[in-house]
Amino acid sequence: MFVNGVTLQNRGLPDSHRLSVYAGTGGYGALRKVLLDPMAPDQIISEIKKSALRGRGGAGFPTGLKWSFMPKGVTGTKYLLCNADEGEPGTCKDRDIMRYEPHRLIEGMIIGAYAMGASAGYIFIRGEFVEPIHIVEAALEEAYAKGYLGQNILGTDFSFDLYVYRGAGAYICGEETALMEALEGKKGQPRFKPPFPASYGLYGRPTTINNVETFASVPDIITRGGDWFLKLGKPNNGGTKIFSVTGQVQKPGNYEVPMGLPFRDLLAMAGGLRPGRQLKAVIPGGTSTAMVAGAAMMEVTMDYDSISKAGSALGAGSVIIMDDSVCIVKTVERIARFYMHESCGQCTPCREGMGWLWRVMHRLENGQGREEDLQLLLDVGSRIEGRTICALADGGVAPVVSSIRLFREEYEYHIQHKRCLISMGVA
């Protein structure tokens, strides 16, 4: 078992957020290698491709391929953005990278900027994360003082400026083009794609955006090689991944493990279930991914392909555990409320549909469900999916539809008996 992890490998060290501690463990060695050794931008991108690193923000898009989309030979500014707008319920990993390993993120971004020819970048951190914001800002100051950022980095002709941008409270800004709108001072409403950010991004300039964990994986890929990273995981699912295991486990936390670890081992690492409890259901990738029945989940390995085969998605690696004390209807009602609250209001199927789903879930939970409500939820869901600009609405439909499929009898009990099959022990 690979114990130390990659992106959170220094978490256990005192003052791991300080540049001196990071440098003491080889930090900024990858940057020296690419600039002074030197490595050509194409070589860097091919190393990232070899590693099979896939975007850690939820979509799982191959990072090296994304980097290769950035146009070459254009005049004017190209931008590199970091998506640190962590807000998917169940997801709390980027916060810890920023708190414990800010320099790993910063070094990954500088290397990315060099590989793609970006001269300015912003780390978009959700506004509520005040502590991580202060830590990252202090780390940027340290990096500037050491000459890792700014003009003529390490005496080369490569220059890159990096800043923190603070969000102001909106889940939708985790969608990459909504994030760019917010960075421009506008409402965070997603843009139509195409054009894609690589051709028309921030201020209409070529832009690449990656998640915190993605960038934080880059320095070690450069130092130790793409093959090394790939072999940590499994083919097409390279490296380690942080899983935020939350909900009803004894030791909730961020566990960085090799891709492909059996779910049952991850559950054991998180202390297992509470005494006397059975595993009822798992949401494996954050609330926008489909619910999986507990028994089925016990056969899954934690990687993009295996979870996809189980009918869900790895998403951001946000594993929400529900035991047999949980009322599925009440839990999904709560999840539906999130999407109603966070819909940006731009697309009608989402703006109206997220509220509709919640209202039906709410009356089911409160003993006012009707016989036709389950079909109504499925119908409304099918009229939302695929009919909006971004993925928020599909994410809001997934938990409703998947939970009806898995726990239909529990929904029917609510309708017929006007109350819950399970009296939840959590209130």
């Binding site: 169940g90 421009e184 949980v326 959590v426």
Partner: protein, 163 residues
């Protein structure tokens, strides 16, 4: 309308963006303004528009879109209790109820002495330490009835930095 200190902070934010992109500093300007003024009145928003040289409608748009801006006065301490799924599975309803009983207000209300506003909010990204809440700049995690009472006592003691 704003102190020199706040204006300097806004100027530093403005400098992060290209010369023709003043609007990029809007979210920061609203935050800094709210920190000083307590909430964003119409007059304050128009002031920010003039400060950045952008139309007032652009300021209203942003101020009404994002959840961290207050368009009405709130209590000195805003207790934002996370009610999203991981916190919910770990008793966030009981946290909200406990605070509601102790303060004598419902979620969304402010105590008569103006000290506390109680709010239920969506996911704050601290799911492994559920249940949790945010007050000002700080997160309070793994909450229990005892830790909530201790927190209220500290906040009543008048310290802004209660960590």
């Amino acid at each position: 309308m704003l102190s020199e200190k706040s204006l300097a902070k806004i100027a530093r934010e403005r400098a992060k963006y290209p010369a023709d992109q003043a609007r990029s500093a809007l979210l920061a300007a609203l935050r800094i303004t709210q920190e000083e003024q307590g909430y964003l009145s119409d007059a304050v928003m128009e002031y920010v528009a003039d400060l950045l040289g952008i139309p007032a409608i652009q300021v209203y748009e942003a101020a009404t879109f994002y959840s961290m801006y207050d368009l009405k006065p709130v209590g000195r301490h805003k207790l934002c209790v996370c009610g999203s799924v991981s916190c919910f599975l770990n008793g966030s309803d009981a946290v909200l109820q406990h605070l509601s009983e102790r303060l004598g207000v419902d979620p969304g209300e402010t105590t008569a002495d103006g000290l506390f506003t109680l709010q239920e909010v969506e996911c704050l990204g601290a799911c492994k330490d559920a249940p949790m809440l945010q007050v000002g700049d700080h997160y309070y995690e793994n909450l229990t009835p005892e830790s909530l009472d201790a927190l209220l006592a500290k906040l009543r003691g008048g310290s802004d930095d209660v960590r």
